[in-house]
């Protein structure tokens, strides 16, 4: 394996490990607290739930994209 490829793969593996830790924390902290509130909203206020659902999925995607980009830059910066 070329040294550059090995370096990229190592950086990616580190990023994945850090990301996995963050995601596990996210499952237990954020989703645990969101669950009941969203369930009530889904039963009693469908239209609000629909709007909140889209905002949540778009918001999470933007944050996740920023987190992964930041991690990649940080790890690549250190490995160079």
């Amino acid at each position: 394996m070329k040294p550059e490829t090995a370096k990229t793969l190592r950086a990616f593996a580190i990023e994945l490990a850090i990301y996995a830790l963050l995601v596990v924390g996210y499952f237990f902290l954020v989703l645990h607290f969101l669950g009941e509130g969203l369930h009530r909203l889904e039963i009693h206020h469908r239209y609000t739930y629909a709007g909140v659902a889209i905002l949540l999925i778009v918001g999470q995607a933007v944050v996740l994209e920023s987190v992964t980009t930041f991690l990649l830059r940080l790890i690549r910066g250190r490995s160079e």
């Binding site: 669950g35 969203l38 629909a50 778009v58 996740l64």
Partner: protein, 307 residues
């Protein structure tokens, strides 16, 4: 993990891994990946209505990540994406109405199955023929990485037909400078988007397997831009679909959020990977995707179980 909205118990690791794999496909090919995500959610024990609605919500999140990355790489034509979103939404509504008509006639399953098999097989066969012909006719590209502008220079054995379509002077004509299209009728773009939306409403999912090739062959958009622009367009049309399903009680947003944690990484890998392949190679690699759809439809027809 218990998801109170749908009342399902599903492993978050399963959802994350499924999201990751679908994310790679979506980022690389510009498709929603519903033909895999739907069955994956069904296999996890989710009811069919929740599988469809939740899948759409997950597609929104994954497409945001992939489209952001593609935009950073210069692969998104915002003007084209916005125009196409209008046609797609109109087409999706028409497709849903068509389904209702067939339901009333009582032969919806058979008609949809036969149409989908014919459409998927046609796309795969045509793309296999075109991409192989293009690859053999053009000069061999340098080995290894084809990054940046060189990778985006696109060739197609179908280009003569594309040029004829671009020469149709049906007012209003518009320019798509980002995609390198000097003039094309607005109606042609809306028609392509409408047909994609029609199949989306008729066959389910985002119909990226129809829209992405249509953008390349009918509109003349380079493959890399077609992938990025399709993802941007999917954000709008899938958001509309998510809202529509959520008010009908078909979306478990918690499941979509968990899936999206895997999809966020996968979509970035897929999007970055497009930089290493020339357009015809991406199109050749696209060929098996509609065939997966064919396999799922045939399985459904033979067993009666909807995946």
């Amino acid at each position: 993990m218990f998801f109170p909205i749908s009342g399902a118990h599903i492993s978050p690791i399963y959802l994350t891994v499924a999201g990751f794999l679908i994310g790679i496909l979506g980022g690389f090919f510009g498709v929603g990946g519903s033909f895999i995500a739907g069955p994956a959610l069904r296999a996890a024990g989710l009811d069919w209505n929740f599988a469809v609605g939740t899948d759409l919500a997950h597609i929104v999140g994954k497409s945001v990540v992939a489209a952001k990355r593609h935009r950073a790489l210069g692969n998104v034509d915002l003007r084209l994406g916005l125009i196409m979103a209008l046609g797609t939404i109109g087409g999706a509504e028409a497709g849903a109405q068509l389904i209702q008509m067939l339901k009333r006639a009582g032969n919806v399953n058979l008609v949809v199955s036969i149409v989908s098999i014919a459409v998927y097989l046609s796309i795969s066969t045509f793309m296999l023929w075109e991409s192989r012909k293009t690859l053999t006719s053009q000069k061999r590209l340098p080995q290894g990485m084809v990054k940046g502008a060189k990778a985006k220079q696109d060739h197609s054995a179908f280009m003569h037909v594309t040029h004829s379509i671009q020469r149709l002077k049906i007012w209003p004509m518009i320019e798509l400078p980002v995609s390198g299209v000097k003039a094309i009728s607005l109606w042609v773009i809306l028609f392509v988007a409408f047909v994609g939306g029609l199949f989306s409403g008729f066959l389910g999912g985002g119909a990226g397997y129809i829209r992405m090739p249509s953008m390349v062959y009918v509109l003349g958009v380079p493959t890399h831009l077609a992938v990025g622009t399709d993802l941007f367009e999917i954000i709008i049309s899938a958001s509309y679909g998510t809202f529509s399903h959520a008010i009908k009680g078909n979306v478990d947003i918690l499941i979509a959020l968990v899936m999206n944690t895997g999809a966020a990484v996968g979509a970035q890998i897929g999007a970055i990977s497009t930089q290493y392949f020339a357009g015809p190679k991406i199109r050749l690699a696209f060929v098996p995707l509609p065939l997966i759809g064919v396999a799922i439809v045939i399985y459904t027809l033979m067993t009666g179980h909807k995946l």
